[in-house]
Symmetry: C2
Subunit: 219 residues, 2 copies
């Protein structure tokens, strides 16, 4: 598998960030192509990008001629194609735990607070800023409370599932950044905070962070 | 694997429906336990159900002592645990296609129109009925247009990916029922409609349909 990996990404997209973590955990070299989601109506809406990804979303990964969409599907593809440093546990039940936690974030938290939805709330529904903040706080709060309860119920290890980072940790860490950005209190989630600390201590998580991306604005 | 399978389900939940399709495609016997999501504030909010699934969502699958959450994670677990009648293709790229299509539905369409969000739009934001319908139409329309474009771009087979039903078809069919329920026009999506017709002709899809469930109200 010597075909080049190219990631279409945006520094603050939490879905793109999940894939960046996976690429760094696996030590895979890749080229970053920034797609500015807010400048001039959004570079993701150009005909060229739309041909690549009809959903007009990042991340989009090119591997040789293949174009892949959806962050969790991309990470599973990377895990199957480059098995070193596995991001899913070895047995079906633990794999289901890791996938369910990642999907809790990707299906039940993130979609309600992503850019297109926030833009709809602001411009179409004309919700004021405090109502938008309450909207986000509700879904992030419900989601993280359930995430914490599942970690406790299933006996989290050093990471979400076991002693090495998995798909679940790739999804969790970017969501926590978003939670803080919108003022959500993380104090009630001690297991989540312990696992986050273990993750961000790793060079792979650090290298994938928004402020470390070439397209991040100067600090 | 002789442990019993018990599915906590609701007749009209499209996420539970995905898992019912997978169970029927694989010919796995299971017990259905109905969880009435709207009666008396929602049976999913009881302490007993919350212990089982802190997200208070269906589907929840019990397999012996193990309790599993999140529809797509459950289907992957079933596929790994009962490999007969595989629901994911054999090669990593086709698997990524099937997962990405399923995630397009499960992450980018369904969460914006599910019960808790519709209740929030109605009761907290006090949106009138026509504004709620436009909200749903926007996300379902965007999502299905991209789904159709991806099917065309990647060359769908008789089903979403190849000549047998996969995870993607399990996600697509229930979403189309929801789309019709909210008056979304499916005319612009001929590939989707062709694949839906192939799916619903199969006994497994028919047996999983809402109106065939024990907890469905009388016609």
């Amino acid at each position: 598998m010597s075909a080049a990996l190219t990631l279409h990404t945006y520094w603050r997209s939490s879905a793109a960030w999940r894939v960046r973590i996976a690429l760094h955990l696996k030590g895979l070299a890749y080229e970053s192509v920034p797609v500015h989601l807010v400048r001039e109506g959004g570079e993701q809406r150009t005909p060229e990008f739309t041909r690549r990804n009809p959903q007009q979303l990042v991340p989009t990964l090119q591997h040789g001629d293949a174009v892949l969409t959806q962050s969790l599907a991309i990470i599973e593809y990377l895990d199957e194609t480059f098995p070193e440093v596995p991001l899913l546990p070895g047995n079906p039940l633990s794999r289901a735990r890791a996938r369910a936690l990642a999907q809790l974030v990707a299906c039940d938290i993130h979609p309600l607070g992503n850019l297109r939805v926030l833009q709809y709330l602001e411009h179409t529904l004309q919700l004021p800023s405090d109502a938008r903040t309450r909207w986000i706080a509700r879904w992030v709060g419900d989601g993280l409370a359930a995430f914490e309860a599942l970690l406790v119920a299933h006996g989290a290890g050093e990471f979400c599932v076991g002693s090495t980072p998995s798909l679940a940790d790739c999804a969790l860490v970017p969501q926590l950044y978003n939670a803080r950005r919108f003022g959500v209190d993380l104090e009630p989630y001690p297991t989540i905070r312990r696992i986050e600390a273990a993750c961000v201590a790793l060079p792979a998580f650090a290298a994938a962070a928004p402020e470390r991306q070439a397209d991040a604005p100067p600090a």
